[in-house]
């Protein structure tokens, strides 16, 4: 039950998720895995919003609403990103970031 768990447990979880996401974004070489790392980041934000709303401001719903919109927009973002990634796969035959390095300075 959520009642027994204090707020800072949620915050530690979301912070961990956020930085695991950032780490994965930097380290991973596969475009799909990078996209998954971004989903981790966005979901850590969702946990933050819901936990703050539930524990600190239970009389209103702003955090919950924000979460719903973040989920919806993350879906839109992922669909465009995957469309582009599929196109890259068709062109180059690979979705490894190290192979997609035509533009460099």
């Amino acid at each position: 039950m959520i009642e027994g768990i204090p707020l800072h447990y949620f915050l530690v979880l979301s912070t961990l998720m956020f930085f695991i996401g950032v780490y994965g974004f930097i380290v991973r070489k596969n475009l799909i895995t990078i996209l998954m790392s971004i989903e981790l980041i966005l979901n850590s934000v969702n946990i933050n919003f819901v936990a703050f709303n539930k524990f600190l401001y239970p009389d209103q719903l702003q955090g919950m609403f924000f979460t719903i919109f973040v989920v919806a927009i993350a879906a839109a973002e992922a669909s465009v990103a995957i469309a582009i990634i599929i196109n890259i796969y068709r062109r180059i035959g690979n979705i490894n970031v190290e192979e997609i390095a035509e533009l460099k300075h």
Binding site: F18, G21, V22, F25, L31, I34, L35, I38, I41, L42, S44, V45, N48, F49, F52, N53, L56, Y57, Q62, G63, F65, F66, F69, V70, I73, A76, E77, V80, A81, A83, I84, I85, N87, I88, R91, I92, I100, A101, E102, L103, K104, H105
Partner: protein
């Protein structure tokens, strides 16, 4: 709520209608090129209606609010987008682009709708939705040329880095919500006093915004995306997208974060020095005109920060004025580069050698644009930079102004390199004379006339100055 209140969203509603008409028209029109005059005409109507006097007020319980200043900002963005659409007409008319012609204009307009909602937002939810609506279609536009590897690479780089930056920004927003208990700007502004957690939240937020404006050290995506994307999308990204992000950042810094003004001034100080210097030094060694203009636009973003740091009415007025002039100057430069790229496929600065001998008119427009970007007196860019420096000096940042002046001098060097290539360097085989189609001609003339008029006609600045806002 009655129907008249919805007219507060006039700019956005008209744009949505325009985009829908274009998508539907594509189904019924057999000759796809006829969509171009339709799109240009509809957008021109939009632009004109935007300038008619408008009401101000709030909608949806404060989520959306319109002030005279936001209307002015929207009109500035409309002008920029109109010129971009005109300049992309020649590229869209190529046979390989016919099947996606309407989508290009519709996507361009839908990003603009996102930007306008973002500028008018009254809470962080609307702000975030607007920001994403402005970002996601641009990634699709950057990956528009499906058959080119570079375009696809630019698209994926743009969508992934912008998604990461939105994530970082959202993490900051969640902490702002946790510490203040609201997502409405006016409530947050009251509760945002600069505790340690709030400072951390603000840093996350600013890092996310700095990605969008491509400030150093968050600029690494910019040059690659600018080079790989189709050149018209590059000009849109570097001008309109950046301008919108600058506008909303100015509004938020001046209203929501007004209590920690001393803190964000220090952060912006560092960012401004880094952005100007690094942007300039990288621009020095670029050979490709798109990469060159990308780094020049990074350096220009550093100058814009000077106006924000003024944190007074002069500051906000100069930011809007600078963006307006920057739209005209950058779009003139990009307009010429677009014509050259479309006609001859040449994008290297070396290949511009002897351009004046074959295309004197175009090289004069390019000259004017580069002088304006560098800030040489008779052209508008000089006044824009001068006012920015005045705003920073009015807040007492003399050293920063000094650094900015040195950077403006360095930037003059590399802008003049392009001028030298066009006017002085000899070339046995210069670019052949370019025939300019009517749309590009109108676009270039608009940009070039704007370049001269906004500088010399002081009413433009006075009008913007009259709408400006500072920190109370």
């Amino acid at each position: 709520m009655n129907i008249e209140q919805f007219l507060l969203m006039r700019h956005e509603l008209l744009l949505v209608i325009t985009a829908l008409i274009l998508i539907v028209a594509e189904i019924f029109v057999a000759d796809k090129t006829k969509i171009i005059p339709l799109g240009v005409g509809l957008f021109f109507v939009n632009l004109v209606i935007g300038f008619l006097p408008a009401q101000t007020g709030t909608l949806f319980g404060g989520m959306f609010h319109n002030t005279d200043m936001t209307i002015m900002m929207k009109n500035v963005l409309n002008i920029g987008t109109f010129i971009v659409i005109l300049q992309s007409a020649a590229w869209l008319k190529k046979p390989e682009n016919h099947d996606k012609l309407a989508e290009f204009i519709a996507l361009l307009i839908s990003t603009l709708v996102g930007m306008q909602f973002m500028i008018s937002s009254g809470d962080f939810l609307m702000f975030y939705i607007g920001l994403e609506t402005a970002t996601i279609p641009v990634a699709a536009l950057a990956a528009f040329e499906r058959i080119r590897n570079r375009s696809a690479e630019a698209g994926v780089k743009l969508i992934l880095s912008s998604a990461l930056s939105s994530g970082v920004l959202l993490y900051g927003l969640s902490m702002i919500y946790g510490t203040t208990g609201s997502i409405y700007f006016d409530a947050v502004a009251l509760a945002f006093t600069g505790t340690q957690l709030q400072t951390l939240a603000f840093i996350y937020f600013l890092a996310g915004m700095a990605f969008k404006i491509s400030l150093v050290p968050f600029h690494l995506w910019a040059a690659d995306v600018y080079e790989g994307a189709p050149i018209n999308v590059t000009s849109y990204l570097s001008v309109v997208s950046k301008g919108a992000a600058v506008f909303i950042l100015t509004i938020l810094l001046f209203t929501v974060f007004s209590k920690i003004v001393a803190m964000w001034q220090n952060v912006l100080y560092t960012l401004a020095v880094l952005t100007m210097t690094v942007g300039n030094l990288f621009a020095l060694r670029q050979k490709n005109i798109k990469r060159f203009l990308a780094f020049s636009s990074i350096a220009q973003a550093g100058f814009i920060l000077l106006g924000m740091m003024g944190a007074n009415e002069l500051g906000s007025a100069t930011v809007v004025y600078f963006v307006l002039i920057y739209i005209f100057s950058n779009l003139s430069a990009f307009g010429v580069a677009t014509l050259i790229s479309n006609n001859s496929g040449k994008e290297n600065i070396d290949e511009y050698n002897g351009f004046y001998s074959t295309n004197p008119g175009l090289s004069l427009i390019m000259l004017l644009a580069l002088f304006s970007l560098a800030g040489i007196p008779p052209v508008a860019g000089f006044f824009a930079k001068f006012f920015l420096f005045t705003a920073a000096a009015s807040a007492g940042y003399y050293w920063l102004v000094f650094i900015a002046v040195i950077n403006a001098t360095i930037s003059l060097f590399y802008y003049l390199l392009v001028v030298k290539a066009m006017f002085i360097n000899k070339n046995d085989n210069p670019i052949a004379p370019i025939t300019i189609d009517i749309y590009s001609k109108v676009g270039l003339i608009l940009a070039a006339v704007g370049l001269v008029v906004t500088g010399l006609w002081s009413d433009v600045f006075e009008v913007i100055r009259g709408l400006s806002f500072g920190i109370n």
